[in-house]
């Protein structure tokens, strides 16, 4: 299936959940926050939050800003 990850197309195995996506991106344990279709998903709920085709996923972090 194909999701939209941070605004770009991203291929993902069918049935993958958020925890698997974050692990594949090597971001497990990092200070990131995740939303699916503009709904924030707390990190403790990533496992089991199965993604569907065309889901829009945002993965964000803090960077320098004023």
């Amino acid at each position: 299936m194909q999701i939209e990850l941070n605004g770009k197309p991203h291929a993902l195995a069918d049935g993958a959940d958020l925890a698997q996506l974050i692990a594949a991106l090597e971001l497990s344990g990092k200070a990131v926050a995740v939303a699916v279709n503009r709904q924030v998903v707390p990190s403790q709920l990533w496992a089991g939050r199965v993604l569907a085709d065309a889901d829009r996923v945002d993965v964000v972090r803090a960077i320098g800003g004023g």
Binding site: A31, D58, A62, I63, G64, G66
Partner: protein
């Protein structure tokens, strides 16, 4: 009387925002530094307790082991103030801060800014008011970048935000305090902290803001864009402290007449 007998000055009480008191009245941004090391050193030199950060999408494919901002300004040491820079409507700003709250483990203190256009980065006040209402209802403690308009500032206070932060001049412009009269009107009427956010160019600007009676100053470019950011961070720390002390001390009134500082009596001529 010797120095030991000098009456102690009452120390400043600190800046209280949403029930938490901070020693420093200088808040600094973390953008525009050349690297994270400079960010860390300038932030330390500023003495600031509250540091603003931006929330942005992770660059997918970037080295996940590269050091991150929160490694050099750790939430264990600083109060991290996530902003909504780059948001042009209420919905995007609220979404950004919902992500920030999750990122920072339920942290409630946030900086709301909803911009009007890219040329001026002036706040879009209708959208700012809308976002503020949503965020306050959702339990956030909201500090708000706003126009220097006392009516809008009062509307924000009525909504229940924890601080109003009028611009002194355009973001990143370094033009200083362009309308001290409007700032004074806002300071006079507000029961919540008033901080100048945006426009400070150099130390005297920060001191002027504090002398007007502002509760604090938030800046980024003035420090990060200086030739020596670490030295300017220290200058800003001193300027904010000096301006606050001068405000508490109460300046002499201005008058267009000379007044000799030395007594006239007992002159030798």
């Amino acid at each position: 009387m010797n120095m030991n007998d000098a009456p102690a000055l009452n120390a400043d009480t600190g800046l209280t925002i949403a029930g938490t008191t901070y020693n420093s009245r200088l808040l600094v941004g973390s953008g525009k530094y050349k690297d994270l090391d400079e960010t860390r050193l300038a932030t330390e030199a500023s003495g600031a307790d509250i540091i603003t950060v931006a929330i942005r999408r992770v660059n997918i494919g970037q080295d996940p082991k590269a050091p991150s901002l929160l490694d050099v300004v750790p939430p264990s040491r600083y109060t991290i103030l996530p902003n909504t820079a780059g948001c042009y409507n209420a919905e995007d700003a609220v979404y950004t801060l919902q992500l920030a709250r999750e990122l920072l483990n339920g942290h409630k203190l946030v900086k709301l800014e909803v911009l009007g256009d890219e040329k001026t980065l002036f706040p879009n006040m209708p959208e700012t008011l809308k976002a503020a209402a949503t965020l306050v209802k959702d339990g956030f403690d909201v500090m708000v970048y706003c126009s220097d308009d006392p009516i809008q500032a009062r509307m924000l206070e009525d909504i229940g935000v924890v601080a109003v932060m009028p611009l002194a001049s355009l973001i990143g412009s370094g033009m200083g305090i362009l309308n001290p009269w409007n700032l004074s009107l806002i300071i006079e009427q507000s029961k919540i902290p008033v901080l100048v956010d945006a426009g400070v160019g150099t130390a005297s600007d920060a001191a002027i803001a504090m002398e007007l009676g502002c509760d604090g100053v938030l800046m980024n470019t003035a420090i990060a864009g200086a030739r020596d950011p670490i030295r300017m961070a220290r200058a800003m720390k001193l300027a904010v402290e000096a301006g606050r002390e001068a405000f508490l001390a109460g300046r002499v009134p201005k008058r267009f007449a000379a007044s000799p500082s030395s007594p006239m009596a007992g002159r030798v001529v």
